[in-house]
């Protein structure tokens, strides 16, 4: 797959993601109306069979007229959430990590700002804003939905261990994610899936600049949220639904109702998980492409090789960066090395390909260009 196909694919997938998100809310609302408020599809037919001549009957008909509040509200919420997720994804991601704009008066951060400028020139892109995550573990990520409004963030620990060449390799890797529109898809996904958790994190006061230690504690909240949010909603709806479900949907055998209800719940629980798993597996392919593009931009695969080796050998997890944005980072911030294991579970859940394979692919490139 070349870069133009990759760009188109990412733009298309972002739109699909937004549509699916709204559809999911629609599905949620429809089910809510159907099972909990007792909206019966037959009621409209029922109304037409009544004779409107008799005054008493017509009063009853008005009573029967049903407004699908759940569907309407869910649709509005879904549209607003997906729009704001698309627009504010960058800010949410940055706030959740406690990142701050790099300070040009600090010599190390000045070098980082300079390197971002240099690589932007090499890639022919507008200059992204440089951010620093106050964390001692080396890691980096990029975010933003548009090429002229994107951010490259690195941890303070990365600046401490990298030399100029290695840092340039890392920045070039992130720059290629921006160029391929990977960050648009990933940022939107993060905002949509993690919106509820990130917002709740902000409300409890985690996302401030001082929030380093609070973030540390909050580290895996987005992960809980991925499965927890729909599960929680589902069980809440389930409790109410079983109580009023029989009364609500008249004219349908109870077992059909029960089966439909179970399918509804399962869909609600599984849909976000399935989409996450799908994105995770797709995101691994992107890493190889970003590595290759980084080597092409810097004409120096060795810089990135040495950078990846250094990042890899720092085994600690990046505590400021939650699991919810793992797929944005240059290496999985969980430090669990899910990607190093083989088997079905890691095939599904790992966000990155095995580091050894990435380094090997880059070494092959460096070998082809011994002069580099």
């Amino acid at each position: 797959m070349n870069i133009y196909e990759q760009q188109e694919e990412n733009k298309k997938n972002t739109v699909i993601l937004l549509v699916i998100f709204v559809c999911f809310f629609l599905f949620l609302g429809l089910g809510f109306d159907f099972f909990i408020l007792g909206w019966n599809v037959n009621q409209t037919q029922l109304k037409s069979t009544y004779d409107p001549v008799t005054a008493t009957y017509s009063a009853k008909v008005v009573e029967q007229h049903f407004v699908p509040f759940g569907t309407i509200i869910a649709l509005i919420v879904g549209c607003i959430a997906s729009f704001s997720g698309y627009r504010n994804g960058k800010r949410l991601v940055l706030a959740s990590t406690g990142a701050y704009p790099a300070n040009p008066d600090d010599p190390q951060e000045k070098i980082f700002i300079n390197i971002v400028e240099e690589i932007a020139i090499a890639a022919g892109l507008p200059k992204p804003v440089a951010y620093i995550v106050p964390d001692p573990d080396p890691n980096a990520f990029a975010t933003g939905v548009d090429q002229d409004d994107s951010v490259i963030a690195v941890t303070r620990g990365l600046l401490d261990v990298m030399n100029r060449e290695e840092l340039a390799g890392v920045v070039a890797h992130e720059m290629s994610h921006i160029r391929n529109y990977d960050v648009r898809l990933m940022t939107t996904l993060t905002a949509l899936v993690g919106a509820v958790n990130l917002i709740s994190g902000l409300v409890t006061g985690g996302g401030s600049r001082r929030g380093y230690y609070r973030n540390r504690r909050r580290g895996n909240i987005p992960a809980v949220g991925l499965a927890g949010m729909p599960g929680g909603l589902g069980s809440r709806f389930g409790g109410a639904g079983s109580a009023s479900g029989r009364g609500g949907a008249a004219g349908m055998p109870p077992y059909v109702m029960a089966i439909l209800f179970v399918i509804w719940i399962i869909m609600i629980i599984l849909a976000p998980m399935l989409s996450t798993i799908l994105t995770m597996s797709v995101s691994r392919q992107r890493e190889y492409l970003a590595d290759a593009t980084a080597a092409e931009l810097t004409r120096n695969p060795k810089g990135l090789i040495s950078a990846l080796e250094k990042i890899y050998s720092a085994t600690g997890p990046t505590t400021s960066i939650g699991k919810g944005i793992a797929h944005l980072c240059i290496i999985d911030p969980r430090g669990s090395y899910m990607e190093e294991r083989s088997g079905a579970a890691s095939d599904l859940m790992a966000t990155h390909p095995p580091m050894q394979k990435r380094i090997l692919a880059l070494k092959a490139m460096a070998y082809q260009h011994p002069g580099a």
Partner: protein, 186 residues
């Protein structure tokens, strides 16, 4: 009749998209060249500050400093549009600056000087930007030239007034091409 009409329309559409593609690339090439100019200008502005910052400490390197100043003056006097000449003169300046940066390493007092370090980082940054903008220019230039030369575009490109652009190359005798001599005996 209808068939020939369709063929003419298809060829017309193809010609249009080819022409527009070439125009876009040509503008990109011009823009990339201007980017190099911006960076070169930056370097010219930086040098006087750098020289005056290190002048006091590097009394014994007057010759090196003199060379940097002369190369800067020569590069700035190149007439705009003369790319070969500009590339040669800027190449000499790059070589002179590289020599200065190497010498700086042997002056511990300079290495400890915060102001000099700042300027040196600024210089490294500018040198890298010049390198990357040159690389970007050459990439996009190659793309433009290749597009003109492949079949069947090559039949029409020169008719429509498109010419291959010159890559930013160092002249064969440029000092920038010289191998860096590394002395490990100390």
């Amino acid at each position: 009749m209808i068939v020939s009409l369709i063929v003419i329309v298809v060829i017309g559409i193809w010609l249009m998209s080819m022409y527009n593609g070439l125009i876009t690339l040509r503008n990109n090439v011009a823009n990339a060249l201007r980017q190099i100019d911006v960076q070169l200008k930056r370097r010219h502005d930086l040098i006087p500050n750098l020289v005056s910052a290190v002048k006091g400490e590097m009394k014994f390197e007057q010759e090196t400093l003199e060379k940097v100043v002369q190369a800067r003056a020569a590069a700035m006097s190149v007439k705009p549009g003369n790319m070969k000449d500009l590339a040669a003169k800027e190449g000499e300046l790059t070589a002179a600056l590289g020599r200065l940066m190497m010498l700086k390493e042997s002056y511990p007092s300079l290495k400890a000087n915060e102001e000099v370090n700042k300027l040196m980082e600024e210089l490294t940054h500018t040198e890298n930007q010049i390198g990357f903008s040159r690389q970007f220019y050459n990439d996009i230039c190659t793309k433009f030239n290749t597009k003109q030369q492949v079949f069947p575009t090559n039949i029409f490109a020169s008719m429509l007034g498109f010419k291959p652009e010159e890559l930013w190359e160092l002249p064969a005798d440029s000092p920038e091409r010289e191998n860096v001599k590394v002395d490990l005996s100390f």
